[in-house]
Each structure stands twice: as structure tokens, then as C-alpha cells.
């Protein structure tokens, strides 16, 4: 079952094979949860949205066709749930692809410097992980989203589809995110 592609697994589940769903779920649950947590920055809300995402996928299984990449489909649902949540919290959010905003909307608040030299490697690694979390939180939403989706395995075209943003803008966002993270985390890389 593990050798099957996401699309094959989803088709099997659509046709009634529950074990296919279990495989699919195990494969993607960390990524979806991680994406939701990074974007909404609240563990309890992220978990609620995480449940909604999978429930939506289950309920929509009969409409699934293998023509779409499953991972794109899944993260599109996840993003819709996020937008829905933000709408309820504070009204509409504008997340259309505006490449100019990448360069202008990146006023990063300086995070406290947690990079004090530490002789113990493990402690240093732990600090680096924590610092990455902090720096990710400080990225503009669009850059963080593109970076996280890319790290979770969604390809560039997929990110473009999920975020409804031109491909070049996606690349630009990831480049900006990488540049900032490299700069901030140079002691860790």
C-alpha cells in the first residue's frame, strides 16, 4: 500500500478501501498539521481546522478525480479552511498574488537573539530549531506559506494552484523566505 501514489490511494478510498485512507492519512497528517499551525499560529485552532480538512476530504471523496494532484487538492482544502477561519475572525483577507508586496511587505520584527554560543551541540541544535520557529513566524504570511508548502512537498506548480498565485511569484516568495532565513540562521546552517 505504501508504494501506491496519493492519487491511487485516494481513488481506492473513494471506491471503499478504508486502509487506503489510513495510508494516505498517515502520509500527510504531519504536513497538513504543520502547515495549519505555521499559518494560524494557534495549536488548538490548528487542530480544529486539521479535523475539518480531513472531514471535508472524506465527505468529498466521491467527487475526487485523479486528474488533480492529490497533494494540491489536500492543501487547497487546508487553505480554504484557514481563509474561512480568518474571515470569521476579522473579515476578508486579501491573499491574491501581488509580487510587489513581497519586497515591500516584509517588515520583519527583530527577534530576540537566541544564538548565544553554546559548547553543547545538542543544545545548540535545539536552539536553532527554536530560532527557526521564531524566524518563520516573522516572515510575511505569503512567504511563510510558500516556504512551508514547498518544504511539505508541494511542488511549485502545486503551490501556484493552491495559493492562486502566478508561478513566478511563488518562486520569488520562496527566494525571499530562503534569503531571510539563511541570513537569520547563518550560525545554524
Amino acid at each position: 500500500m505504501d508504494a501506491l501514489s496519493d492519487e491511487e490511494l485516494m481513488c481506492r478510498y473513494r471506491d471503499g478501501d478504508t486502509s487506503a485512507f489510513a495510508t494516505l492519512f498517515a502520509r500527510h497528517k504531519p504536513g497538513v498539521l504543520s502547515y495549519l499551525r505555521r499559518q494560524c499560529r494557534n495549536a488548538a485552532i490548528a487542530e480544529e481546522l486539521y479535523q475539518d480538512v480531513w472531514t471535508t476530504l472524506i465527505n468529498a471523496r466521491e467527487r475526487y478525480t485523479a486528474s488533480a494532484k492529490f497533494i494540491t487538492y489536500l492543501y487547497t482544502i487546508a487553505r480554504s479552511r484557514l481563509i474561512d477561519h480568518v474571515r470569521r475572525q476579522r473579515g476578508f483577507v486579501v491573499v491574491a498574488g501581488d509580487s510587489n508586496s513581497d519586497e515591500t511587505g516584509d517588515a520583519i520584527v527583530e527577534a530576540p537573539d537566541t544564538r548565544a554560543p553554546d559548547p553543547v551541540a545538542a543544545l545548540h541544535a535545539e536552539r536553532c530549531v527554536e530560532q527557526l520557529r521564531v524566524e518563520l513566524d516573522h516572515l510575511p504570511d505569503e512567504q511563510r506559506e510558500a516556504f512551508v508548502l514547498h518544504e511539505e512537498g508541494v511542488n511549485l506548480e502545486g503551490i501556484s494552484d493552491v495559493t492562486q498565485t502566478p508561478l513566478e511569484t511563488v518562486k520569488s516568495r520562496i527566494r525571499y523566505a530562503l534569503a531571510k532565513l539563511r541570513k537569520k540562521l547563518e550560525d545554524c546552517l
Binding site: T18, F21, R88, L132, G153, C188
Partner: protein, 348 residues
């Protein structure tokens, strides 16, 4: 292929940064959430199998029914395991805590309210000692060895019965007060999310008792209801919903998509504010409770739909103000509509 796509633009990936990201990944949801999702997936697949079998052969129906029974049975067992928190034993254990004096504990033991095993499971260690002593006293009384003590026991029985009634009335799990899960389900999603930490904290004490007795968590009812709710199509629910009682737990995206699909060309949907203050609510109060949508033809507002969460303070009042919540009439006022399913016909 594992679902993690490779792209040909590798310069956009920094291996060291990726390794760090993988370490920083927060990957685990609560086991209950994962279990709910998997149970829902299995249940949905079984339902689909049954529907399919009904269209095929009788033996297929039997097999599908067996599959359904299997799933329902296993989910039921799981829920019973998690839900079977004996309210009475919780109430008693709380009483033991509340009525701390040793005399009360002795009374409980004298009256043989919980079985010794149950008492042993819920009571703290020190009262357990006393309970054992009292229990042995009770046994000797039952043998009629000391008539005076037996008389005292009758008096104690009566006093205890009264005390029990009072304690049950005072108990936080008394029937007059809805269970935490019921409150959570009745409340809008935002409220539930906001109150989640408080609710968890509130539930911590009984949950701890339940865990100590190996009974399980208290959230199964909420889980089951939530799964049922999510299993239904939001659009179908929305269509049948009274306009003055929008269920805020449903996705506003579904509402928007449905409205978009029914609005004739030339009309647009304008979400005047999401959320808005409920009609009839105090200024600034319950601001997150209501959603308002206008359907507009050019600059003319054809309909104004004011969706109000069940249980909001102005809900009762809103039912009397249906003129505000429906289709615009020729006189400039609003004609009421009862449910959203009536809307498409009115817009034509």
C-alpha cells in the same frame, strides 16, 4: 511516488534549512482527533458500501450491513469505553471531596452507596482506610449484634438520604446543568475555541478522576455529535436553515459558494461585514455572533440576510424582527423568508 513531489527548481531548496525545518516540524495532533478522523473515514466508506450493495444483489446487502454493524460496533465500543463515566460515582467522589469531614465518608460507607470496589477506585487513600473500618462496622450491625447502633443507623440512613438529595442538587453534574459537551456544541465555534482552555481546565478535575479509575475521557458525546454534524453537507444544512439562526460552525465558504450559485446574473453578493453586531444586541456585545450578507442588483439592495448564531442574546428578539431579514418588498421594507431554500425563487 510518496506524495512529496520533487521539482526541478532545486536552488529554491536549501538542504541545511530543510533539515532544520524537518526537526522543527510540529507533527502530532491529539490521538483523539486522529481517531475521530479515521473512525469517520471508516464509517463513510461503510455507508457508501451499503448504498452500493443496495443497488446490487441481496448478498451484497447482507455483506454491507455486516460491515456497517462491524464499524458501528467498534465505534460504539470505543465510545462506550470513553463515555462510560458513571455520573453517580463522579458525583459521589465529588461529594467525598466537598463534604470532607470523615463522618460524611463514614455515612457513605455505612449506607453502602458505592460498592467497596467502586469506592476504592474513587476515594483517596486516607478516606479509604476509614471506609474499610466503617464497612466492617456496617457488617456487624447487619448481624443485629447491637440494636442501639442499628437504630442509630436508621437515623443515619434518613439523614444520609436527605444529604444525598441536597448534594445531588448542588452537584456540578446535576441534571439541571447541561454537560460541558452540550454547552460546547450549543455555542458557536469561535466561542468554543475561545473557551477551550477554560473548558479544558474546568473538565480537568472530573477527567482526572475518570482517568484514575481507568474509565476514559469525557468528550465522546461531543466527538460523536461533531462527527455527525461534519458528515452532513454544509450546503444542504445551510439551505434548510432558518435565516435568523445561522449555524456559525458551518463554513462561511459553503454559504458563499451556495449564494453565488443561486444569484442570477446581474446580481452580486456583498458581505457587508464579517462578522457584524447582532441586531438587538448591546453595542459592542456579541460582535462575533452574526454574519450579514446583502444581495445587490446594481446599486439596489435586493435582499439583506442577517444570520444569527443560535443562542445569541438577540435571537429571541430577532424572530420578531423578520422584516429585517428577508427580501426587499416594493414598499421599501423587507418581506420575511423563513429558510434560505426560499431565496432562489424570490430572486428570480
Amino acid at each position: 511516488m510518496t506524495g512529496h513531489e520533487k521539482d526541478d527548481d532545486e536552488p529554491l531548496r536549501d538542504p541545511a534549512l530543510s533539515a532544520l525545518y524537518q526537526k522543527s516540524r510540529q507533527v502530532s495532533a491529539s490521538p483523539e482527533t486522529d481517531a475521530k478522523i479515521l473512525a469517520h473515514a471508516a464509517s463513510a466508506a461503510a455507508s457508501a458500501a451499503m448504498r452500493k450493495a443496495q443497488r446490487q444483489k441481496p448478498w451484497g446487502q447482507i455483506a454491507a450491513a455486516a460491515a456497517i454493524l462491524l464499524v458501528v460496533g467498534s465505534v460504539g465500543t470505543w465510545m462506550i469505553e470513553r463515555e462510560d463515566v458513571p455520573v453517580t460515582s463522579l458525583a459521589r467522589s465529588e461529594r467525598v471531596e466537598l463534604e470532607a469531614p470523615a463522618q460524611k465518608r463514614e455515612n457513605i460507607a455505612l449506607n453502602d452507596q458505592p460498592t467497596p470496589e467502586a469506592f476504592q477506585a474513587t476515594a483517596p487513600a486516607a478516606p479509604l482506610e476509614k471506609a474499610r473500618k466503617s464497612d466492617s462496622a456496617s457488617t456487624s450491625m447487619a448481624a443485629g449484634a447491637l440494636p442501639e447502633i442499628a437504630e442509630k443507623k436508621q437515623l443515619a440512613d434518613r439523614a444520609q438520604a436527605e444529604s444525598d438529595a441536597a448534594a445531588v442538587a448542588r452537584s456540578p453534574v446535576a441534571a439541571s446543568e447541561p454537560a460541558p459537551s452540550a454547552i460546547a456544541l450549543a455555542a458557536p465555534k469561535e466561542e468554543r475555541l475561545k473557551s477551550e482552555p477554560a473548558r479544558k481546565a474546568k473538565a480537568a478535575a472530573p477527567a482526572a478522576v475518570a482517568e484514575s479509575t481507568g474509565i476514559g475521557a469525557l468528550k465522546s458525546a461531543e466527538t460523536a455529535a461533531r462527527m455527525d454534524e461534519l458528515a452532513q453537507s454544509p450546503v444542504e444544512q445551510i439551505k434548510q436553515m432558518p435565516v435568523h439562526a445561522y449555524d456559525a460552525t458551518l463554513p462561511s465558504l459553503a454559504l458563499e459558494a451556495w449564494l453565488q450559485s443561486i444569484v442570477p446574473s446581474g446580481m452580486t453578493i456583498a458581505w457587508t461585514a464579517v462578522p457584524v453586531r447582532c441586531h438587538g444586541a448591546e453595542a459592542g456585545a456579541m460582535a462575533a455572533q452574526c454574519i450579514e450578507v446583502a444581495i445587490v442588483r446594481e446599486t439596489e439592495r435586493v435582499a439583506l440576510l442577517h444570520f444569527e448564531s443560535p443562542g445569541s442574546p438577540s435571537q429571541a428578539a430577532s424572530e420578531k424582527k423578520t422584516l429585517v431579514y428577508g427580501e426587499a418588498s416594493e414598499g421599501g421594507g423587507m418581506k420575511p423568508i423563513r429558510t434560505l431554500s426560499e431565496l432562489p425563487a424570490r430572486l428570480r
